[in-house]
Subunit: 347 residues, 2 copies
């Protein structure tokens, strides 16, 4: 049984096969939803033809779709047409795979289910413990309590998860600074940030040297490379300055303050989630493309500092950890479908 | 002396001649700065060839330009090439016009000077009073104290104006909701807004029926028309819901709360500006494409409720008030250049 897992987001398409070969491409779904099928075909060229495609998604929230039902339908149709003749299964927050037509009937169960697939798959690493998964990506953070290896959350849909603290809409790379906070300290005063898409959280962490420079990465607010010099210029622009008007020390002061605010926001949500748990987690699993933030937050948290911390990226290959949700659905599908075949064989 | 004034912003190009014929076009400068010259030529086709072009701008802050100096230079070159052979003058925050080459030498004086041209021109309506200009546009608000008909501000550059409260980076149409606030009330709790460009302030005011529906206007977060039904859907998406998950009553509750927060933010800045003025303003001039907000804020303000309020849009034609900064530089240039010709004649 050779399975390929897909995690179809609004800005990235991620894939992994059940053997661990992972690949992702940037794809701005909200701009060109009609090109999704072609982009998926390109993403899949590096794999052999699978026996099964397992899908999870968040891209149905993109505003090119009038409703999530439209989004789920469009995404599933693109997958079906990208690999005609291959069976497709969709992960649901009900903790099972369903065929596309049933997923289309219950779109809110398939919508934004990738966190659930990841938590279900990773939870099996700690079947007998009280655990917590902290996954920090480029734009969002998931905080998932685990019990007997299974996710035990208060929220299922995105809005329930926002209200419960289990989804924090902030991440280590793509969050616009003016959506993180609307004022920053400057020259002994409080300065409003320009309400524009001028700089993102990656600029904070590159300027502060917590993320490496990536001159080849132009997925930034102004399309210029993710270097320290450009991060400085983008942060300066976020208070309507260019680099002749703001010193590097002032930009660093702003970045230190905003980074602390972001970590405080995640910690507040974490406290909200922990307050509902019966036991302090014995193990904290940390993952996501901004796992460096998860590590800092756990280390500085009074209740979690004693927990065993497992960095998922150190167990798996880097490429898998970046496509962890895709790998999760691939593995879950490979195991479950084999199981159901075994069960059915005696018939 | 036939003068055309231009106000070159990051999202709109506005023009007016000294006789009051005004016209504006949407132009996304940050996306295609190389098309500015062509766009200006198109904007100017409806006018006769002018004796003089008077320019003011804010577009130099667009992040297609590495620095404001680059932006000022690019914008002025595009103007010069759009109408070859016609003299160009540029308004400066030093309260005078300068030729382009000198403007290029002092780019921070030409940068974001349009508020200053407007205040200088409108201030002459109240030459003997303590006054205040409140201009609320689609993305920004200017709060300009006037004395003896002249702007008397603490800040000159954008960052100084942000710090002083004289520039509030919020407006009645294009401000993304998640840049206005990051949490809203929902179902008796506080819900984070998605840190995405899902809805803007126009959606609040269209949903609340303070702005009319504009089915032909697709300059919205998702590119769908500015109707009440779409505003509801966009606000729903900003808490990760579609219209099947959030009631219209809940969307209205969110909109009422965010509208109140926006007005409170402007009022806080207003109090900061008023606290530095020697006298309570006798006359408040209100203007801008979101003048309806200025009216509400003045009416509810304890110190300003007694002042004489003059709505600039009720004095001038609607098309002029939408291009007020362009008309201001056209009028100022027509008067000043005539004056200097008269002065020079005796020589």
């Amino acid at each position: 049984m050779y399975v390929i897992g897909l995690d179809i987001g609004g800005a990235n398409l991620k894939s992994a096969d059940s053997d661990g070969a992972a690949r992702s491409i940037a794809f701005e779904l909200w701009k060109t939803p009609e090109l999704l099928q072609t982009a998926l075909q390109e993403l899949l060229t590096s794999y052999q033809r699978p026996d099964l495609i397992a899908v999870t998604m968040t891209g149905e929230l993109a505003d090119c779709f009038q409703t999530k039902a439209d989004g789920v339908d469009h995404i599933l149709t693109a997958v079906e047409q990208a690999v005609p003749g291959v069976p497709v299964l969709v992960w649901q927050t009900g903790a099972e795979f369903l065929p596309p037509d049933i997923a289309r009937e219950f779109p809110l169960l398939a919508a934004a289910a990738n966190w659930h697939a990841l938590a279900t798959w990773l939870g099996r690493m700690i079947p007998d413990q009280h655990g917590l998964l902290i996954d920090i990506g480029s734009t969002t953070t998931d905080l998932i309590p685990l019990q007997q290896g299974l996710p035990v959350t208060e929220g299922v849909t995105d809005v329930e998860r926002l209200l419960s603290g289990e989804l924090v809409y902030t991440g280590g790379r793509r969050t616009p600074l003016a959506m993180l906070e609307n004022r920053v300290p400057l020259r002994g005063q409080s300065c409003p940030l320009a309400a524009e898409y001028f700089a993102t959280t990656a600029d904070l962490y590159v300027l502060l040297e917590e993320l490496p420079e990536s001159p080849e990465d132009i997925d930034t607010a102004d399309g210029r490379p993710a270097t320290r010099a450009n991060a400085f210029a983008r942060i300066a622009r976020s208070v309507c300055c260019d680099i002749t008007e703001l010193s590097e020390e002032e930009a660093i002061e702003i970045a230190v303050w905003l980074a602390a605010r972001q970590q405080a926001q995640i910690t507040e949500a974490l406290d909200q989630v922990l307050s509902r748990m019966d036991h302090v987690p014995e193990t904290v699993l940390i993952s996501g493309s901004s796992v460096f933030l998860a590590k800092k937050i756990v280390q500085s948290h009074p209740l979690l500092a004693q927990a065993k911390v497992t960095n998922v990226a150190e167990i798996f290959d880097r490429s898998i950890s970046d496509s962890a949700c895709a790998f999760a659905v691939a593995r879950l599908a490979a195991e479950r479908v084999r199981f159901s075949t075994e069960v059915e064989q005696p018939d």
